[in-house]
């Protein structure tokens, strides 16, 4: 397997306010698999995603990616790991306000030894004609597409998406999901997407349902449908 998540535990706060957010999460993913982490608010899905992404540490357990355990890495090694293997997409896009669209994508390309062609990505994302605009001149969907471009331009092994459609309307959300699907199919990236939109599970290869820090269900989706067919 490509990603092994083993008995991950994590808590926040101390004493009376101590909350066990993850209580021993374990599952595995194959390379190129599209996994959706589902669950209500506070179920621990974003925390798990952050631990997989190396921007947060587990109390115990480990995550192994391609045989390398992230828990054994120091800050420098973790940065390198993110640089080489990961792409991140956030709910609020987090684009750099005073860089234009193309430059925002180049910010991702710069980190890779073998980045994808920025113009190709701009065209794929339908942003080519907007490439000289600043983020605040674009709609939410266009900004999120830019964020996707920034994440995928370095051709990451793993694309982590934290509620990528959370701030978008139905049509724009579908557009974004289609794009993520394309990335998965075209570039073979492993995708882990956190969402609380139950419908999105239908386009995933694997669905992991979390509640109160434990896995309630970990299923292989045999009836996967395309993003185009999704409805909610």
């Amino acid at each position: 397997m490509f990603i092994e998540i083993s008995d991950i535990k994590k808590h926040f706060g101390e004493g009376e306010s101590r909350v066990e957010v993850l209580k021993g999460i374990s599952f595995e993913l194959e390379k190129g698999e599209f996994c959706v982490l589902l669950g209500p608010s506070g179920s621990g899905k974003s925390t798990l995603l952050n631990i997989i992404g190396g921007i947060d540490r587990a109390d115990s357990g480990y995550i192994s990616i391609g045989g390398e355990k992230t828990a054994d890495m120091n800050e420098k090694a973790l940065t390198l790991y993110r640089r080489k293997h990961l792409g991140y997409i956030f709910q609020m896009y987090n684009l750099i306000p005073n860089l234009n669209i193309k430059e925002n994508i180049e910010v991702g390309a710069y980190l890779s030894d073998s980045p994808l062609d920025v113009d190709d990505i701009l065209k794929t994302l339908g942003l080519y004609e907007h490439r000289h605009k600043l983020p605040n001149q674009l709609s939410g969907g266009q900004q999120q597409r830019t964020a996707i471009g920034r994440a995928i331009v370095k051709n990451p092994d793993i694309l982590l998406c934290d509620e990528p459609t959370g701030a978008l309307d139905y049509n724009t959300s579908k557009e974004i999901l289609k794009l993520i699907e394309t990335v998965n199919q075209k570039y073979g990236s492993t995708i882990i997407m956190v969402t609380h939109n139950d419908a999105i599970k239908n386009m995933a290869d694997r669905v992991v349902k979390l509640r109160d820090g434990v896995i309630r269900k970990n299923t292989k989706n045999e009836n996967k449908i395309s993003a185009e067919e999704l409805d909610w």
């Binding site: 940065t79 640089r83 609020m92 860089l99």
Partner: protein, 751 residues
């Protein structure tokens, strides 16, 4: 691939144009001024140092009553020296001033012609540049001397009068009242023939010392004095190593450098902190971007470099342009500062690597280190903390408790105050520094006025004569005294102390010192922080004998460093015959003694020389200091208040949506800063007074004499008023900024 983040840097500078413009202009001003000063300082110092060889400056001079004949000259020259005639005559000139005139000099102390021509006939004269400037004389002007008219044909500098000291024992020189010049030999012997000639001889050692002013030179001059004694009656003996007219300017040119460097680095540190505070604010604003970049794999160092780039680029551009301005415009201006005080020979601008290092490399390092340290400490936070905008290292569990009885608007302001404490500490520091600079500029004139007033009040007698030989007078109010000079020696620095022997029951000295008590002048006690019971050691002027005294009291005499004792103790201490005296104090002018018996008369005017010269040479610099103070206030208050407003943009926007009007919002965000700024101005004043006292004392310790650092109340008031006026202008600009905060700012999702 070129780092795409670099494209942000020029945009960041454009976006924050106001902030960077303030930093740029301020840096430009201080770098160009400092660079100009350092270049002028080094160029003039080099010209001064080279002048010893170029103009063949003497190793010393002495004066005898009659011209030395060949036999005497040969005898003197057998002491390892070569003698040169350097006769001079002194004539009254414009405005009651005195001109010391020489023949053209061909061998030693050669005259540097700065402009025009040397005199060619006996109605022409060349005059010292500074004396001309102080007396508003120009080339071609006619000057009446001793009933004859002379046309000024040349502007000159005499290398042995780079500081226009009339006598080496003078406390200070006065370029308005004393000057030097040259006439033709024919004129000197002919037209000026009736004027008394001073038979002065300059000497050059056959084997000169390595350093003109070092211990070796002093030793050699003492040896030469021993060789001279007995051979002729000396009227005056001045080796170059003790000749203020030659060495004072050279010493001073080096001294001011320290003051400028301290000021430069203090300002750079303030700018570095202000810039770090503003960069920290940018980090807070861009927390999510930084989190994303870190999560994507950008390293901490890549981001530190990125966020440091804009201030560093601004500094480098300011340094570059500042250095260019320093080499061109400011150099002239700063050189004028010295040329306004000293009669220096012509100079050439020289490339000065130190100026570049001091004004560019070191500020660059200071700015880079402070910014790096602050950024590095901020960026140690995890990417996740940035994504969550959780930038506090130690999260406060609960909000500061404030009594709910306090009206909400006051509580709101207090919250703003607590939130911005680091910025307000910087405002306090900025106000402290600005006040030092401003009060320094404002105290100068009143301080000199105060000195003049006290000097007049505490003058020992309306007339004070120093005699060449003891003569009696019938004037009833005349009172004998003995006087001499000793030296205070501090490392390489030495200065004269006047020693007075006073008759018992003196009508002029208002303290009883008849029982062998020693008193020192208030100027001496104040400068060296002396108290009753302290022991002082003074040195013989031309010799190595030491004198130790225990201070029995302090006498109010602010103009001169002096020691007072009764005349019998004086004669005993200095091994003079009983009943010896060397001068008179008198209510009235002494008309019954031969003027040739009088060495000098000390007048009120003489005692005020220091203040007059300081006023002339440093007066223009004081307005620069005032401007600098205003600049610091603008820089600190504008930038830090701007940061505070930016930090609260969303809250301001929410307040607007809720229905608060602009003046209410300004009341919350700006009035707090106003209160802090004004309070800082007031509460920093005691610290400013202490700091000024230290700065002034350390500055005056480099000079001979003493001016007490008394800060007049008006200087405090003016500083506060000037500071407040500057702040009001800044606050109006910031108020506009608050008014411009859009309401949709609150609608932006920042998690």
């Amino acid at each position: 691939m070129r780092n795409p983040l670099n494209s942000r840097i020029p945009r960041e500078i454009r976006r924050e144009a106001g902030k960077y413009a303030v930093i740029f202009l301020f840096m430009l001003a201080i770098i160009s001024v400092t660079s100009g000063f350092l270049i002028a300082d080094a160029s003039l110092k080099k010209a001064y140092d080279d002048s010893f060889e170029k103009y063949n400056i003497e190793d010393g001079d002495f004066e005898v009553e009659e011209p030395a004949d060949d036999g005497l000259i040969a005898e003197i020259e057998s002491g390892g020296v070569k003698l040169y005639e350097n006769y001079y005559k002194e004539v009254p000139s414009v405005g009651g001033s005195k001109l010391r005139l020489f023949k053209p000099r061909e061998e030693v102390n050669k005259i540097c012609l700065l402009k025009g021509d040397m005199p060619e006939n006996d109605s022409e004269i060349a005059l010292d540049r500074l004396y001309m400037k102080s007396n508003s004389l120009s080339l071609g002007d006619e000057l009446s001397l001793g009933g004859r008219e002379y046309r000024i044909t040349g502007i000159v500098a005499l290398p042995d009068y780079s500081a226009l000291y009339e006598n080496v024992s003078d406390f200070m020189f006065d370029t308005e009242m004393f000057g030097v010049g040259a006439v033709t030999a024919k004129c000197f012997d002919g037209a000026l023939g009736k004027t008394e000639t001073h038979y002065s001889y300059s000497w050059k050692y056959n084997e000169p010392p390595a350093d003109h002013f070092g211990a070796e030179a002093a030793e050699q001059s003492d040896e030469f004095l021993r060789h001279l004694s007995g051979k002729c009656e000396l009227m005056n003996y001045v080796p170059t190593c003790r000749n203020s007219a030659i060495k004072f300017s050279g010493n001073d040119i080096g001294h001011d450098r320290v003051m400028f460097m301290v000021m430069l680095y203090m300002l750079i540190v303030i700018i570095a902190f202000v810039s770090a505070v503003t960069v920290t604010n940018t980090i807070a604003k861009e927390a999510n971007v930084i989190g994303t970049l870190r999560a994507s794999g950008y390293t901490k160092h890549e981001l530190i470099r990125h966020y440091m780039a804009a201030p560093i680029i601004v500094l480098l551009i300011a340094s570059l342009i500042g250095n260019i301005l320093g080499y061109t415009v400011m150099k002239e201006y700063m050189a004028e500062m010295y040329l306004g005080s000293y009669s220096l020979v012509s100079y050439k601008t020289i490339w000065n690597a130190d100026a570049f290092i001091d004004t560019t490399i070191i500020p660059f390092i200071i700015l880079a280190v402070i910014n790096y340290a602050i950024l590095a400490s901020k960026l140690t936070l995890s990417p996740l903390k940035f994504l969550r905008r959780d930038l506090k290292r130690h999260q406060r569990k609960k909000a500061f408790k404030l009594n709910t009885k306090i009206p909400i608007m006051i509580r709101y302001r207090l919250r703003v105050l607590f939130q911005n404490i680091p910025g307000y500490i910087m405002i306090f520091a900025g106000m402290f520094f600005a006040s030092i600079v401003m009060i320094f500029s404002l105290l100068f004139a009143p301080l000199l006025d105060d000195f003049d007033k006290n000097t007049e009040k505490s003058m020992l007698a309306p007339h004070q004569y120093i005699l060449k030989m003891p003569v009696e007078t019938a004037e009833e109010s005349a009172e004998k005294f003995a006087a001499g000079n000793l030296k205070i020696v501090r490392g390489d620095f030495s200065e004269d102390v006047s020693v007075y022997g006073i008759v018992s029951g003196s009508r002029y000295y208002k303290s009883d010192i008849s029982d062998g008590k020693i008193e020192v002048s208030s100027a001496y006690a104040d400068k060296y922080r002396l108290h009753r019971g302290d022991r002082i050691t003074l040195h013989e002027e031309f010799g190595d004998r030491e004198y130790k005294f225990t201070i029995g009291g302090i006498y109010n005499y602010p103009s001169t460093l002096a020691v007072f004792m009764d005349i019998d103790s004086f004669n005993e201490t200095f091994e003079q015959p009983e009943g010896s005296f060397s001068g008179y104090f008198s209510e009235e002018e002494l008309t019954d003694i031969d003027s040739r018996s009088i060495a000098t008369e000390i007048t009120l005017d003489d005692l005020k020389k220091t203040s007059r010269q300081l006023r002339r040479s440093m007066g223009s610099l004081m307005s620069v200091f005032s401007l600098l103070g205003v600049g610091v206030i603008i820089l600190v208050v504008y930038l830090l208040s701007k940061v505070m407003i930016e930090k609260n943009t969303q809250s301001i926007s929410v307040a607007k949506i809720l229905g608060y009007n602009s003046s209410e919002i300004s009341g919350i965000y700006l009035r707090t800063t106003t209160i802090v700024t004004i309070a800082s101005m007031i509460f920093c004043l005691p610290f400013v007074t202490l700091a000024l006292d230290l700065v002034w004392r350390s500055m005056m310790m480099e000079y001979a004499g003493w001016l007490a650092p008394v800060v007049p109340f008006s200087a405090y008031v003016k500083t506060i008023l000037l500071g407040a006026a500057t702040y009001i202008v800044t606050a109006l600009i910031l108020k506009r900024k608050i008014n411009k905060v859009p309401m949709d700012e609150a609608l932006k999702n920042t998690e």
